[in-house]
């Protein structure tokens, strides 16, 4: 690889600028600026490590008074190791070579005979922070965008460039392990408080502070806490390891998520011998990198990046959002968008409905805005609007009124007449067809769906729905808007239940059915959790609200084969709606954990199949119908939007791990016993398990186009507007 790079350099007339640019400030202090021109963020790729290694070797021969390392990227310091190289490297020897190179560079850096300072702004994560840890001092820029952490466990591995040794030495074993096991990132001030950074400095004093630091502090900082030192000796070391294993097991079971447990084992065996630990860390991380879990988690990492990039190239251009309908969804969407820095007018004809929306907004801002000034700014951006004055100014209007076709159509007609020409129109419907809504519009190409999930604050995914008449640029801007709200956009085609509800419904209904068959609520939920779901389906149903589940189910049952189980109807009719009413499948005493309402037989062995496979089958249906672009986005959508077990990579990834024969065999088995509830999807026959592709049926889209063409050719545009509800 090295040779290749060098050859390229020779062939090119113009050398690309070096990744590491030394810059002598004239006072003997050498500033080493990292700027990888080929990437948008700095990564510790093999190339970057090799270049750094060369530079450091030279510095050992001609030592400066001090070395300051910082990033030339405005966005941040170093975002980590090259995850792509890590994940795609199936060859254990080449993988080991990469890890070893990282270790060598960090060791060289740590053993330089002159003071070294890492100056950190923006993200210093994973390998980036490990490089900073190998420096003698760390100075962080006091800014909200500064984040430091070792989040490797989220990718199914643990720190691999010596971080698991250097972080405990710096901030103490307990704090370091907590940070590495959770993957939590720290703000600038938290980093100083923990001792991870020497100083948090506003940008205007950065250089002065560094010079000051170099002239006063001479010795290397280490954590001298008595308790921390005690922790590495017998008998505390095995006890601490045991406690961490236990605490981790509840969140990340070892057979699903081996990385944090491997990290604890590593610490347990070598905590008192840093040199041995450095050696062992390399082997441990190399072994982890080839596990299924790591592979799935890194794939999801890149899928997340892909989804974040969905809106790229087209600017959302949403500076003013207008929301119609101040119900729970409308109000919470408005508040979240205002929190994210966009001006929002919230319209409702009833002033009294605005009250609860503003109350929830004020609570959200006080928790999330990061200070009373920021909370006040967010509140100033959220404007109550009884008359709908905001429509004419808005770049995007979202309607979130009750799910009633003619009411929504009437509203859309009225909104369209007052909209700016370049403004977009979105609906938060989860029940109605976008196409039918679009038919009443003069310019249906700017209508799209923005399906937020409840609670808006917690759900990290938004379904961006494209109808048959929606223009591509419209959904592109919609995706960019979702990204600007720190949400992942999932582009879906207009179809009943879109993706998330469509897939969750068979899973939830099957669980309800099992409860009505006399299986205990707790054991059904336990089976799903055992599979890796963060929460059992019946508890999830309680959280969402049984009435909501019932109404979504009824909406879907018009087009799809999913009848609501009698038990669900009974619960709703008797007023047991789940958490919001205090009882559903569980009792929900305020401030206490939920208790199951009914006990019963232990759920049988094949419960997981009964719950999960209908969802997997529905995934195939939606993929075949082209509701989502590809299997990757389907998996990502289900993991980020519905909490599908991340280490399994998503429903189709799970199917793939079972294999074609096994999936179809088990599906047929369930189908036979299901009384016709489940029909094995035809897509399994044509699905290519290796490439995860399937020939998409155009049937649905063709149907849409036929109908639309009919309207536009025979009925005429004007007539359509006069007869709303004809779709």
């Amino acid at each position: 690889m090295t040779i290749e790079v060098k050859e390229k350099k020779m062939n090119n007339r113009i050398d690309p600028p070096p990744i590491w640019q030394p810059c002598d400030s004239g006072d003997g202090i050498l500033w080493l600026i990292m700027n990888d021109a080929k990437r948008s963020v700095n990564l510790l790729s093999i190339e970057a490590l090799e270049a750094l290694s060369t530079t450091l070797q030279e510095l050992r021969i001609h030592p400066p008074k001090a070395l300051v390392i910082r990033s030339g990227k405005p966005s941040g310091f170093i975002a980590g190791a090259d995850v792509a190289a890590f994940a795609n490297e199936r060859h254990p020897i080449r993988l080991m070579a990469y890890i070893r190179l990282g270790h060598e560079v960090m060791d060289t850096l740590a053993n330089l005979p002159f003071p070294t300072v890492a100056v950190i702004h923006g993200h210093a994560l994973g390998g980036g922070l490990e490089l900073a840890l190998a420096c003698r001092h760390r100075v962080v820029v006091d800014d909200p965008t500064t984040r430091l952490g070792l989040p490797e466990v989220q990718l199914g591995i643990h720190p691999g460039f010596g971080g698991s040794v250097r972080l405990p030495a710096l901030i103490g074993h307990a704090a370091a392990m907590k940070l590495m096991l959770t993957g939590r990132t720290l703000s600038a001030r938290e980093a100083v408080r923990l001792g991870l950074a020497d100083l948090a400095v506003p940008p205007r004093h950065l250089e002065t502070a560094i010079l000051d630091l170099l002239s006063t502090a001479a010795s290397r900082r280490t954590c001298s806490g008595f308790r921390s030192r005690l922790l590495v000796h017998w008998p505390l070391r095995p006890l601490a390891a045991l406690a961490w294993h236990r605490a981790t097991e509840s969140k990340a079971p070892a057979h699903h998520y081996p990385a944090p447990h491997a990290l604890i084992d590593l610490w347990h065996q070598h905590a008192n011998n840093p040199q041995a630990m450095l050696e062992a860390e390399q082997k441990s991380v190399a072994a982890l990198a080839t596990t299924q879990t790591a592979r799935h988690l890194t794939r999801l990492f890149f899928l997340r990046e892909r989804m974040k990039g969905m809106g790229k190239g087209s600017l959302a251009g949403i500076h003013h959002l207008h929301v119609v309908g101040a119900g729970v969804m409308g109000g919470d969407i408005a508040a979240w968008v205002a929190l994210k820095g966009i001006r929002v007018t919230l319209q409702d004809s009833h002033p009294t409905r605005l009250g609860p929306a503003f109350k929830r907004a004020a609570e959200l801002f006080s928790r999330k805005a990061g200070g009373w000034r920021q909370a006040r700014e967010a509140m100033d951006r959220l404007i109550p609007d009884l008359n709908g004055d905001g429509v004419a100014k808005a770049d995007l209007v979202i309607e979130a009124i009750s799910e009633n076709l003619s009411a929504k159509q009437a509203l859309l007609i009225e909104l369209e007449s007052r909209l700016k020409p370049e403004a977009l129109l979105a609906t938060n419907t989860s029940a109605l067809s976008l196409q039918e809504l679009a038919l009443v519009l003069k310019r249906p190409e700017r209508l799209f769906g923005l399906h937020f999930f409840n609670p808006v604050e917690k759900m990290g995914l938004i379904e961006v729905v494209s109808g048959p008449l929606t223009h591509e640029e419209t959904t592109k801007r919609g995706c960019a808007f979702a990204v600007s709200l720190d949400r992942l956009p999932l582009l879906v085609q207009d179809s009943p239940g879109f993706l998330i509800n469509r897939l969750l419904m068979p899973y939830l209904l099957e669980a309800v059915l099992m409860a009505s068959e006399g299986f205990s609520v707790a054991s059904v939920d336990a089976a799903a959790r055992g599979f890796g779901m963060p929460m059992g389906p019946l508890l999830l149903a309680d959280q969402v609200g049984l009435d909501i589940i019932l109404s979504v189910c009824e909406n879907l049952s018009v087009n799809l084969n999913c009848a609501a189980p009698t038990l669900l109807r009974e619960r709703v009719n008797s007023g047991h709606l789940g958490k919001k009413s205090g009882q559903g499948f569980y009792h929900h005493p305020p401030g206490k954990p939920a208790r199951p309402v009914q006990s019963g037989r232990q759920a049988p062995e094949d419960t997981v199949d009964r719950l999960i496979l209908p969802m997997v089958n529905a995934a195939m249906t939606t993929l075949r119908q082209g509701v989502v672009t590809d299997a990757d986005l389907l998996d990502a959508g289900m993991v980020f939007g519905a909490g599908f077990a991340p280490f399994r990579g998503g429903p189709l990834s799970y199917a793939k791990s079972l294999g074609k024969e096994e999936v179809t065999r088990r599906l047929r088995e369930i189908s036979i016993r299901s009384n016709g509830r489940l029909e094995v999807d035809s897509g399994w026959k044509t699905f290519d398990f290796a490439t995860e592709t399937i020939p998409v049926e155009k049937g649905h889209e063709q149907e849409y186009h036929k109908r639309t063409t009919y309207y536009f050719t025979t009925v005429g545009k004007n007539l359509i507007r006069l007869i709303p509800g004809t779709g």
Partner: protein, 438 residues
Amino acid sequence: MNKNSSNQAQWVYLVDGIRTPFLKARGRANPFSAADLAVAAGRSLLIRQKFDASQLDEVILGCVMPSPEETNIARVAALRMGCGPGVPAQTVQRNCASGLQAVDTAVRTILSGQGDLILAGGVEAMSHAPLQLNASFVDWMAQWRIRRGWRSKMELMATLPRCLPRPFSVLLKGLQDPILGLSMGQTAEHLAHRFGIKREEMDAHAVESHRRAVLAQEAGWLKEESIVLADHAGIIYAADQGPRPDSSPEKLASLQPVFDRSWGKVTAGNSAQVSDGACWLLLASAEAVDRHDLHPIARVSPASWAGLAPENMGLGPVHAMAHLLARQELTVADVDAWEINEAFAAQILACRRAMADTAYCHKEMGLDTPMGEIPDNKLNIDGGAIAIGHPVGASGARIVWHLARILQRIQKRRGVASLCIGGGQGGAMLVENATCAA
């Protein structure tokens, strides 16, 4: 028509306006600071304009007493409303007419060619008026910090009883004439005595003010000129809290005088209500009206200001209006609607008597004939500050905005808005209907 043709260039257009509901100050602070109120109203006004907030040439806000964290409250409000850093802002103060002063400053700025589009208004959160400590105690505390050594501190300690902390309400201090030491209510008592106004007449005026305000509320006229406010607890404030449908002469008669407690006639019931509120007006030159395709509802010219003895401050409107009418070559009969701020029932009754009184008009203002009587059905036809409330800095802007809307409603041409001003002044402004052909 001909009377004003020479003054054609003297007009500035009133394009739009808005205010918050006026909230009663009930002893403890309302949930909104003065800046909160100004921002809530202003952002809603800006939202419905065709131009961007950053295109404003200036923001001018009248406020008698911004809180310490709101110095130059106009700038605070402008930035929080999203006008952007490039729009300058100034706060103006002329006591009870600060809101009118803001409008006047805007009008004069536009007429002088230094701006085309100005947001002007007034605000006051009287319920937020702070308590302050007496100067002697503040001085004592400063000494405590300066002095070193226990002996010196002990000596200082001995002087403490002479300057114990005595907190006082800044609001009440502000409502006291700084020259005479009379409270505003006492100046009203003075006028009642001078013009022989009886308690029953004052109470009757107050009842009528409430009756008219309640009617206007029921008709939706007050709601149309206001926004709704939403506080952090989710409470919605959709209407003025002042007007009382159940006000009656009997109820008002039962109230005790508050300023001259023993023999006085001025009660809380026949005085303006202490309240919180904000009001904004959008003013534009003819050129800006064309450029942004605006639809003005009224046009205004610079205000007339007059001074008189501080104890007669309640008669300020008479002097200011006399000046205004003379300047515009108008008589009382030419005016279709009057909005005179009701600081006190006694004060507004005194104004009406003084205007009709030959001796007063001759002696005090050098007029050969009295100005004339304002017909009851043209004065404060939707009630006044006794019912709606008087957030001191905001009232001047409110009556101009409300007058413009009245002229629209009754389809008449001319109106005069006027206020009395603590310290012995009066201010008056002519408002003309911009859409009425008459």
